[in-house]
């Protein structure tokens, strides 16, 4: 029951957190910034609108948003939230989940290609390339976690007695993972320095350019899916940072959301303090995150025999 409530709460709060990023950026830039609830207003606005479909697009275009939304929602069912056990869990669920997210991306890309717009094809090519590289990092993390915890499920990693944590015996290695996963978070969620969520310049976009032709409720689904995806990665990092406190669910829950907020603030600060990379430097950046985790994985071989 509390798992379900916790899940519902997380879904409800997902659009709030990007508002925190925007407020952080606005604060650094000396501006007031949009209201914290801006994303809710946007979603409500989009849902009231109708969708427009190009006559040259097919059912693939219409499928894209639904599938990508579902694919973004699924991982939240499997990851522990605010100290509660996840709704579902089985051995090997992490691998399934990352591939489900892959399916979501596949359909987003297919929908983008379906429009036959040169912009969207360009964005799709970039997205496919960069997320393939990011996958290397993610699987290096999974290998590391498997060595540390002997498990392949998110519930085992982040919930219960043997949770992977900075305070644990392998905590030092997790520093690498935290940095690497933060880099992956920025990549996968099209944040600066890889992509710029605020730009209106199609030629420089990666993710945004693929959804240019979507409108109304379709766009709302895509946006909401993007919030869920960002939430999933942020929760992943939050779990790594959260110290185990032998206290009630309320304290742990508050602590969880506190750290989660800090992760989002960190995204905002990163975006305010650096410019985007040149497109040809992005692969190097992603592979750096892979190298960090891979190094950590090598280290485990030393003292975990």
């Amino acid at each position: 029951m509390e798992s379900l409530l916790s899940f519902m709460l997380a879904l409800l709060l997902a659009p709030l957190f990007p508002g925190i990023i925007n407020r952080t950026k606005a604060f650094v830039a000396g501006k007031q910034g949009p209201p914290l609830l801006m994303k809710y207003y946007t979603l409500a606005k989009l849902c009231r609108k109708g969708s427009v479909y190009s006559t040259s697009s097919s059912f693939v275009f219409k499928m894209g948003p639904t599938v990508s939304f579902t694919a973004a929602l699924m991982p939240l069912l499997f990851i522990p939230l605010a100290g509660t056990a996840p709704l579902f869990s089985f051995h090997g669920d992490v691998i399934v989940l990352f591939y489900i997210m892959g399916i979501g991306r596949f359909f987003t890309i297919a929908a983008a290609l379906d429009t036959a717009s040169p912009f969207e094809g360009m964005g799709a090519a970039r997205e496919a390339f960069f997320s393939t590289l990011a996958e290397a990092t993610i699987f290096a993390v999974l290998i590391l976690f498997y060595r540390v915890s002997g498990s392949l499920s998110l519930a085992d990693y982040f919930h219960g007695e043997n949770a992977v944590s900075l305070a644990g015996p392998t905590g030092a290695l997790l520093l690498f993972v935290i940095v690497a996963m933060f880099m992956v978070l920025l990549t996968e969620n099209s944040r600066v320095p890889v992509d710029d969520p605020q730009t209106h310049l199609e030629l420089t976009m990666i993710h945004e350019v693929m959804i240019l032709d979507h409108s109304g409720p379709d766009l709302a689904l895509i946006e909401l899916g993007a919030f869920f995806k960002l939430l999933f990665y942020s929760v992943f990092i939050t779990h790594l940072l959260q110290p185990p406190v032998p206290a009630g669910i309320l304290v742990n829950g508050l602590l969880f959301y506190g750290i989660l907020t800090l992760v989002y603030v960190a995204v905002g600060v990163t975006e305010s303090t650096m410019a985007r990379f040149k497109m040809n430097l992005v692969p190097k950046y992603i592979l750096t995150s892979f190298t960090l985790v891979f190094f950590a994985a090598i280290l485990t071989m030393g003292f975990m025999q």
Binding site: K25, V28, A29, G30, K31, P118, F119, G121, M122, V192, P193, D196, Q198, T199, H200, L201, E202, L203, T204, E271, S272, M274, A275, R276, F277, K278, M279, N280, L281
Partner: protein, 504 residues
């Protein structure tokens, strides 16, 4: 040099004194001049009493003019001598239906019916449903080539223009820029309106260069009407031109910063641009300086109150400008984006005849304020820049230096005690008959040149306008050669050229 008449910026010459040579001599003279390091300021056709002539204004460190009678065609100088003639010859072909023979890439400039009623050189029928953009772009063939078409309708608040990229993956092989969507017929309109409307129309040639273009127009009218401008008015005009420069440069530095997703300077610069526009409002009540410059002086006297307001604001804002510039230019992620992006070599820039900061960033030091000083510029210190690698970083650095230089100029000018005697209002004045005047000013984008020809009754027979963008658009296209297509917005913003200034 026998076939060239030396003239001065803003001084009337009698048309009878302008050399009138044969088309061949005309071409040879220009070819020799440009080959010896000369640049083209104006090159256009005009028709009078059934005779069409070509007239060219060229510069090295002085200004020269020459002309010839032309028939239905003339030998193109573009492929033979220099790219500097390229756009001018296309414009002549479009405006008067005169074909430059052997022009390497003859195509439309602004898509309009020609003035002379001759057959359209490009075979377009403007009575039908011709629209701007009817043109088969240059294409690159190949399996791996893809074409990206951007515009004419863009995201964001910019003017219409069509950009066609031929790409191999992320790399741009060729960019073709097709403009003309904003053509309003300014040059045709100007000779037909009452004199009092001239400054108002010139202020609207390019909205961000209201003072620059209007200054050229007013200086031309002053020269033709024999008016003198007192020192007080000249000070105000100079301050206004520099304020316009600062506001635009600041806005563009902010936009450059926004384009690389470095937000804080974008926000700060955006606010400061507003501060400088507000200073123009202090001068004349309009944030873009419209209605300030009028033939004979300025329409608003700068009193002690305005002086104090401007001086106080400058004192407050100058350190801020410095700090935010430091923030932008010292961020290594920003440097990584700016450096080696969109490079135009010095040779290329010279061949294209780039002007303004685009030229100076490539190592062409030409600054009309130094070479052909008008207003107070002869008495003011010059700006020099060391950063000349021709990339986005150089263009941004030149702008930064120009901002600081302009701030210093305004400070100097504010210390001068002279105040103009009275506000000038627009009046109809008799203009010198059968005369030519060329006025050149360094607008914030670079050399703005207006050329006015009057007829036997003193009426304007031809009014030629050239915005610096006319030279520099080709520079942008060359910047993109072998660049990542994702760097286009950055390169574009580093030039920030005018669409309506080009389209007229």
């Amino acid at each position: 040099m026998d076939n060239l008449l030396q003239i001065a910026n803003g001084e009337v010459v009698r048309r009878a004194d302008i050399p009138d040579v044969s088309v061949e001599t005309f071409g040879m003279t220009l070819a020799e001049f440009v080959r010896n390091g000369g640049f083209v300021v104006q090159f256009f056709a005009f028709a009078e009493n059934g005779i069409t002539r070509l007239l060219a204004v060229v510069r090295n460190d002085r200004l020269y003019v020459t002309s010839c009678v032309v028939g239905a065609e003339f030998p193109s100088l573009t492929g033979w001598v220099s790219e500097k003639f390229h756009m001018f010859e296309r414009e002549i072909a479009e405006q008067y239906g005169i074909r430059p023979t052997a022009h390497p890439w003859l195509k439309m400039v602004r898509y309009h019916r020609n003035y002379s009623g001759a057959d359209d050189v490009f075979g377009n029928d403007y009575g039908g449903e011709e629209i701007p953009g009817k043109y088969g772009c240059f294409t690159v063939e190949g399996e791996a080539i893809h074409e990206v078409a951007v515009g004419p309708v863009h995201a964001g608040i910019i003017e219409p223009g069509h950009f066609r990229f031929q790409c191999a993956g992320e790399e741009v092989l060729h960019l073709e820029i097709q403009l003309g969507y904003q053509h309003r017929g300014v040059e045709r309109l100007l000779p037909t309106v009452p004199q009092r409307r001239l400054p108002i129309i010139c202020e609207a040639i390019a909205g961000d260069t209201a003072i620059g273009h209007n200054l050229c127009c007013c200086q031309a009218l002053e020269a033709l009407a024999g008016l003198t401008v007192d020192v007080g008015a000249r000070i105000v005009r100079t301050i206004a031109l520099e304020l316009e420069r600062i506001a635009n440069h600041l806005g563009d530095l902010g936009a450059l910063s926004g384009d690389v997703a470095f937000n804080p300077p974008a926000a700060y610069f955006g606010r400061m641009r507003g501060d400088f526009l507000n200073l123009l409002q202090v001068l004349c009540g309009n944030r873009f300086g419209k209605g300030l410059v009028r033939p004979g002086g300025v329409a608003f006297v700068m009193g002690d109150e305005q002086r104090k307001l401007i001086a106080a604001k400058l004192e407050e804002i100058t350190p801020q400008v410095k700090n935010v510039c430091d923030l932008l230019f010292s961020a290594h992620t920003v440097q990584a984006r700016f450096e080696n992006t969109g490079i135009v070599s010095r040779e290329m820039a010279e061949d294209l005849g780039l002007v303004g900061y685009a030229g100076r960033a490539c190592g062409l030091p030409y600054d009309a304020r130094v070479a052909f000083p008008s207003e107070c510029y002869a008495e003011l210190p010059h700006n020099t820049n060391q950063m000349t690698s021709g990339d986005v970083y150089s263009r941004a650095t030149v702008r930064r230096e120009e901002i600081m230089h302009s701030l210093a100029l305004i400070e100097l000018l504010l210390q001068r005690p002279e105040t103009t005697a009275k506000a000038m209002m627009m009046e109809e004045r008799r203009l010198a008959a059968d005369s030519l005047v060329v006025t050149i000013n360094e607008g914030w984008r670079g050399e703005i040149a207006h050329c006015v020809l009057t007829g036997a009754d003193g009426a304007i027979v031809r009014y030629k306008v050239k915005d610096p963008s006319f030279h520099n658009w080709t520079g942008l296209a060359m910047s993109l050669r072998n660049q990542g297509i994702s760097d286009f917005p950055l390169c574009n913003k580093s030039y920030n050229l005018s669409y309506c200034g080009f389209d007229l």
